[in-house]
Symmetry: C2
């Protein structure tokens, strides 16, 4: 089979790899329907995370079950399945508490930009659809496996409530999906921070009521001005930089909440500053598995269309171009078709 | 009138001061019924916070209204009142959101270890009892003005739920009141971290089900061991040091919550560590005003007895000895009677 391998920053190659196969009785192997490039894939691509040795890439996937291990009974060959970027047994204490992305048997997916993928913990990770969905819905279901689930988690962690005001920091695919989530959870006002025309347009289409182009202290001042001098009830931080976290913490009102879902890079939070702000802070890898049944349903019924974050579609073999387009911000998110 | 003044670390004097009087139409002046020394008063007493010039001390009080400004209509002379260490107008956006301790007109109380006290924002700060309470209940009501309210906030911020497991870090008066709060909110298991026999005893009396004497990594390991390897649902951090915050963050389960109510001193939280823990973090000065009606009722009906945290009672004029006894850990908390 063939798939993407990173050799060094900026160096993604489409290569022949060992075939994906069952290694444990709890595994499944799927034939990839569609996969994609994630904003977080750009960290190693840009050298912001080290690449010590060449390795496969990708953690987002939907596909057809090819084969299952002997302990997998919840899905069967031929079914169309959606999973999470973090696998889970869905039975341990953390899973039962709703934090499947902190499963005691968690394995992060990392080989999904390929024709076939081995899924560990298949029983507790994969959710099959009743029928094979219309191909037009595949991008939306693919988004559910990571960016839409992560946007949902941002809204949950930021405690978005009906009638509230939410600010979304970050206009990447996760930030845009966070707008969808805030809208679905009933936020009355959704302020998207973005300075890119195509992303602003999509944010508005997804339910944003306002766009703020300012950043840093000016961005904070603008949010305060728009919220009666107080700040927003909920802030969804979808970037992961120190600047974005600062923007988020200072945009929330006293007693408001920040949900942070971008993996933090060199972010430290001052205890005393957080204390006097009364702002609640919660983040982490999204517990996508918990949301799968609900989000799959919202996509299949066309209630939400997170597949629209894919504004570039390429054959899987052109994966390198997919990275480059996102790196150069020519694309929000690249869909890859095997 | 007379009251306590700090001149330098370790140097508290009982002196003649200018009489408390109405300075604004929104003020009241109360005659102190009882007041006390707070754990946070020990920061300047120990030199951990600078004392640049001599100033009065104290922020906890219950008393009798002596006089009110022309705009104060909710309380009248002769009434017994309980307030908060943070004054509030109780009408601004932050107050309406339930964060009266972040009131746009907030003033922190700082002159309460005295015979009379000026209360700014009296209308939105003071709550009068229906009758003059039995003197035996004054210590409990005094506790409500700060430590009991702060313990309650710790439990709320740590999202204590019926049936949950709560850990209380810190066995000072706030930590002990946090045990009461966790119990009242229905926590099934309450683990108090303490290595002082008298405080352990009071924690058990207040509802703690377990005592852990270990600290640091051993303390964390012990909590994990007691909670199926996962950690606690809620951790109530009632100290404010970097060590206590570390203990708290590592004692919470994935997806659990830490409420931190000790003013943080040199505490920084690593973004990536918080991220992968899935732990929620919220703190700040307690919104005591919001809790006053409920907590006053619980004290007056003798449902809770937070006044038991006072294990030393002195005449107000011996305030210096009150500080020293707490500094040397001979007392948990000193009650002062004018």
């Amino acid at each position: 089979m063939r798939g993407a391998v990173i050799h060094a920053p900026g160096d993604i190659r489409f290569e022949t790899l060992d075939d994906a196969k069952i290694l444990k009785r709890t595994d499944a192997v799927i034939r990839t329907a569609v996969t994609c490039v994630c904003g977080s894939d750009l960290w190693p691509y840009r050298g912001a995370e080290p690449t010590e040795q060449a390795h496969p890439m990708g953690h987002e996937y939907v596909g057809f079950v090819e084969e299952v291990g002997s302990e997998v009974t919840s899905v069967r060959p031929g079914q169309f399945v959606v999973g999470s970027f973090a696998t889970s047994d869905n039975t341990c204490a953390n899973c039962r508490n709703g934090f499947q992305s902190n499963c005691l048997n968690r394995e992060f997916m990392s080989t999904c930009q390929a024709e076939y993928v081995r899924i560990p913990n298949a029983e507790g990770t994969l959710v099959a659809t009743d029928d094979i969905p219309d191909e037009a819905l595949w991008p939306g279901l693919l988004a559910v496996s990571d960016v839409m689930g992560t946007g949902w988690w941002a809204a949950e962690a930021a405690e978005v409530r009906p009638g509230s005001t939410a600010v979304v920091v970050g206009d990447g695919a996760v930030g845009l999906c966070a707008v969808i989530a805030a809208k679905e959870m009933g936020a009355e006002r959704i302020i998207a921070m973005s300075r890119h025309a195509s992303r602003q347009k999509l944010a508005l289409e997804f339910g944003a009521t306002d766009i703020v182009t300012e950043r840093g202290d000016e961005g904070i001042a603008r949010i305060k001005e728009m919220t009666g001098g107080i700040g927003a009830d909920s802030v969804l931080e979808c970037v992961g930089t120190a600047q974005a976290m600062r923007q988020a913490l200072h945009s929330a009102r006293p007693g408001g909440s920040v949900g942070f879902v971008g993996v933090p890079h060199e972010v430290a939070v001052d205890g005393q500053e957080l204390f006097f702000s009364h702002v609640g802070l919660r983040g982490g890898p999204a517990p996508v598995r918990r949301y799968l049944p609900d989000l799959i349903d919202r996509v299949l019924t066309r209630r939400i269309e997170p597949g629209k974050v894919f504004d570039l579609t390429l054959p899987l073999e052109q994966v390198a171009e997919g990275y480059q387009a996102m790196d150069e911000r020519r694309a929000i998110k690249t869909l890859l078709k095997p």
